[in-house]
Amino acid sequence: MQESPELVRDAADTRGAVIEAGAVGKTYRAAKNRSVEALADISLSIRDGEFLSVVGPSGCGKSTFLTIVAGLVPASTGTIAVAGKQVTEPSIDVGIVFQSALLLDWRTVLENVMVPIEVMGLPRKEYRQRALDLLEMCGLSAFAHHYPWQLSGGMQRRAAICRALVFDPPILLLDEPFGALDAMTRDYMNVELMRIWQRNRKTVMLITHSIQEAVLLSDRVVVMSPAPGRILKIIDVDIPRPRSLEVIASPRFGAIANEIRAFFSADMFLAGGAKAQ
């Protein structure tokens, strides 16, 4: 199951861009003819099979960028293409996981995972087996017929990931999927996510607050400024895969994390905070 890390990285580099953002900006119209610029001049290309994270302070527009990539919200300026096509509406090439698991309380875990299949009108019988396989992979086999409120927070997040993977989209967009979890569960979920990604080879864009999470999981980390969000730097994470939680203690990991952290000076947070109020 485990491929040589070097081989994976090289393969990822030679494949083309799957998500291509060209000078994307987003301005919201607020009350009284005032407008709020949430996102400015985001140019970014994400390679096929790459795991890319976006970190930035609260309200820097990183979640907005995700909804634009997903085709849920139109960009105000610039262009965005997914799999070579201009994004104008949601695409079945993209699976999304939000911070909240958003499972439907009246459906069992399996029925929840099957929601996209139902909506897309795909053959249920065939995909039911795939759903069960995914639940098995995430250690949820025993809970397939339980209701979401009978599951722990971590299990709910894993079910949400299964739901995003069930229709086999080549691209996965994760909006702080583990943000609401406690630190230990979060570590565990990160390891799980790496394992799932290693197996499925999806292109992943992860939005996160956590520098540690970003460095641990990613091939590259995009550092964003406070609103209006701009790209400050894109940092390569040259830590070989497969990675385990132990790499967090390595000097290379610490150096990369520090490089990212340096962008978030106290001043920046004060400025961002003052603006938010």
């Binding site: 949601p90 999304i96 939000f98 958003l102 439907l104 929601v115 139902e118 897309m120 409120w149």
Partner: protein, 267 residues
Amino acid sequence: MNDAASKTARWSPRALLERLGVIVLGLLLWEAAVRGFEVSPLLVPSPVAVFDQLVRGVMTGVFFKHGLYTVAATVIGFFLGSLSGFLIGVLVSQFDAFNRLIYPYIVAFQTVPKVALAPIIIVWFGFGIGSKVMMSLLICFFPVAVNTIEGLNSVRAEQIMLMRSYRATRWQIFRIAQLPNALPYIFAGLNVGIVLSVIGTIVGEFVGTTNGLGRLLLDYNYAFDIAGVFATLVVLSLIGVVLHSILRAIHYRLVFWQRRPDQTLGV
């Protein structure tokens, strides 16, 4: 688990005995007070006298005859009122035009005390059962409509986004996410509505009718048969309890995932 525990505590023989004890004690005190202070039966009848009238009313069939009339008017009105409340709620929540053009008037009309409409309803719909159905319908319409709107709109924005990301149609979003999400709210509205419907029917019967428990209540009152009035009140309360219990049973069966059944919105 918590629910089950509290349920068994509520229905344990001991708790039941305690509650029965309170009722018996209350009745005894009442009887003693009426006898001791020689209260006129025209003001407050004794429990024994009320029980007598209750038994007589049941034996002669007056309670059955008038009760059936009241229950029929209440239930038909409740059904039609809830159904229209639900449908209007769906239209308001799903179509912006309805929200802008109709909803403000619904809110405005909600403030009208519906019982004050009884005289005009009698004029429009006559002395028959139609006017009672109409009263029951009008009075339960609003809580159901308002709760339906609230419930359908309470789906998280992210949930809608997620559904949209699967390219779900509006109907799919409604059917899969919004409607089930609204069920607890709708039932909260129905629970309020059924109690109000009984009130609506009785008020309708007060204003003009030849049948129904409201009519019976007035007849006893005019005849200074206060024990009869009390007996009728007992029957009315029982009807309310039974209707409410039926609704609750349906509620808990249908909305099995709801752990907080007491979220009530609007009246």
